[in-house]
């Protein structure tokens, strides 16, 4: 490892094209087929999951318990099999997607909005208020999410709203930190100064110039946060401090299914795969977005 690094400068690497995997990621005009498709499916299921679900996700039917998925010898009635109570896994997965989607959207929108507001306040005020806000953001970021969740659940009880609130508290400092430096970078650009020369006030500068120019960064942060929010919902529900059962959520399905890994593997694997694919797609999409938005907006 270190020897390879050391030998690199002495080899005539300067004129060589970058390694294929590097080039692949940077090739301009590449469309994010995989991540885009997965994100679209996730959004669709998140909005209409319970509508398209073939069965009632909470309907217990013990005579049909632990049926395997259709591709593992099950029946087409239950495409992804059933769980120990005979509930349809596909229907639970689809309604669970709504929970994940709601949590992700809530955390991303509210966390992003708070983060942007704080960033504008800090980036425009400077001085003491800026220092205080930055300190608060740093402190919130250092606070462990799970501990925070336990505290909030102990006070308010479990629920989707609580999960979203926990994630908002965890997420806003991430936005605030990155966006604050963006705000400072943008507000000192000459087109913002010029808007003042033309009589535009602070509100004008913020709404017309600063905020629109933070949007690429905001979008990239948001897509990355979608992945984090979905994982966090899964983890909190898995630990029993997230969405209260019997409501279907991917985290609850994982928690219920973990005891069946040996006997009914599809119970943990199906929600696990759905969660991993969605998070992977969100991150890849965020990466793509960052590259796609960069050249046109930064000069």
């Amino acid at each position: 490892m270190s020897s390879a690094l050391e030998s690199a400068p002495s080899s005539p690497a300067a004129g060589r094209p970058p390694r294929p995997w590097l080039r692949l990621r940077r090739r301009p005009g590449r469309r994010p087929w995989f991540s885009g498709t997965v994100m679209a499916i996730f959004a669709f299921c998140g909005l209409f999951g319970s509508v398209v679900a073939p069965h009632d996700p909470d309907k217990v039917n013990l005579s049909q318990a632990l049926k395997p998925p259709v591709f593992a010898g099950g029946t087409p009635t239950y495409l992804l099999g059933t769980d120990q109570l005979g509930r349809d896994v596909l229907s639970r997965l689809l309604t669970g997607a709504q929970v994940s989607f709601l949590v992700a959207a809530g955390a991303v929108l509210i966390g992003g909005a708070i983060g942007l507001l704080v960033a504008l306040l800090a980036g425009y005020s400077g001085g003491r208020l800026d220092a205080v806000l930055t300190r608060v953001a740093d402190a919130s970021m250092a606070f462990p999410v799970v501990l925070l969740a336990i505290v909030i659940v102990a006070i308010y009880g479990k629920g989707v709203t609580v999960v979203i609130a926990v994630l908002v508290v965890a997420a806003w400092p991430q936005y605030a930190r990155v966006l604050r430096s963006e705000v400072i970078r943008i507000r000192t650009q000459e087109f913002v100064t010029m808007s003042r020369v033309m009589g535009g006030g602070r509100f004008w500068a913020i709404t017309r110039h600063v905020v629109p120019n933070t949007i690429p960064t905001l979008l990239v942060l948001a897509t990355l946060q979608i992945g984090l929010a979905i994982i966090a919902e899964g983890s909190l529900s898995f630990l029993g401090i997230g969405v209260p059962p019997p409501a279907a959520s991917w985290g609850n399905m994982l928690a219920d299914g973990r005891n069946f890994l040996a006997t009914a593997w599809w119970l943990p694997v199906v929600p696990g795969v759905a969660l991993s694919l969605t998070v992977l797609a969100a991150n890849l999409f965020g990466d793509w977005l960052r590259q796609a938005l960069d050249p046109a907006t930064r000069r």
Binding site: E190, F191, T193, M194, M198, P212, I215, A296, T297, R298
Partner: protein
């Protein structure tokens, strides 16, 4: 009462740094521009040229002294004065890569002043933008482009078009050519001259060498460490400099003009 449209009267400016140190950027500066006059402002980098223009444009407040517009001090502006000032005083900045909002179309950038002032209809603003584009020799179809589709020289033309939008009486040009290469900056200089002839606008033209000033200006002021050491007609000041510093600036610019291909690097 002087004949200046826009002037700084006995203006001083000091900046306070983080660690309590102060920078005296300007000391007792008297400087102004009359109608239709092209006045140069020269001095080495860090001499306070940009600070003086920012004070004239109202972006920075002077520590002491006043800025007068048509004889009225800035701090006694009524709403009427303010509107007149924003329509009559305009600017073109140094860096065409940061002076245009990358997320706006050119017609929208060029007529920004109109949408600040009042909700002007889009059709009217577009028509005005196309007029202005042709004034700066850019094709009308550029109205719907974004800044990143343009070269540096074209961007600077757009910035000039924006500066002209409300038929200003004064345009402050802070080193408008220093980010451009030699042939492009000559084209921009000619454009500025043409526009001046056409509309007889007052120019405050900032430069860190005297070459362009000799070519463009009627009058020139020389800044050294925040003070004006010499001010007068270009022929007098540059032809017969009285101050040692002016002599050095002239000599330096003559050296540079012998090597036109030399790459200009502005700090």
């Amino acid at each position: 009462m002087s004949e200046y449209i826009l002037e700084a009267v006995d203006v001083s400016k000091s900046f306070h740094g983080r660690r309590g140190e102060t920078t005296q950027a300007l000391t007792g500066v008297d400087f102004g521009v009359a109608a239709g006059e092209m006045v140069g402002l020269v001095g080495e980098s860090g001499s306070g040229k940009t600070t003086l223009t920012r004070i004239l444009l109202g972006i920075e407040q002077p520590t002491s002294g006043t800025v007068r517009f048509r004889g009225t001090p800035r701090d006694r502006f009524t709403a009427e004065h303010r509107r007149d000032y924003f329509n009559s005083v305009s600017a073109v900045f140094q860096n065409p890569y940061s002076s245009l909002n990358p997320r706006r179309r050119l017609w929208d950038i060029i007529t920004e002043r109109r949408s600040i002032e009042r909700r002007a209809p889009k059709a009217e603003r577009r028509a005005r933008a196309i007029e202005l584009l042709s004034l700066v020799s850019l094709p009308a179809e550029y109205a719907d482009r974004f800044p990143h589709q343009l070269s540096g020289g074209q961007r600077q033309r757009v910035a000039i078009a924006r500066g002209l939008c409300e038929d200003p009486d004064v345009i402050v040009l802070d080193e408008p050519m220093s980010a451009l290469d030699v042939s492009v900056s000559a084209q921009i200089a000619n454009l500025l001259l043409d526009l001046q002839e056409k509309f007889s606008i007052g120019y405050i033209f900032v430069a860190h060498d005297m070459h362009m000033v000799r070519h463009l200006c009627h009058r020139v002021a020389v800044l050294l460490k925040g003070q004006i050491v010499e001010q007068g007609a270009v022929a007098d000041v540059l032809g017969n400099p009285r101050h040692e510093y002016t002599r050095r600036l002239v000599a330096a610019s003559e050296l540079r003009s012998l090597e036109p291909e030399e790459e200009r690097v502005h700090p």
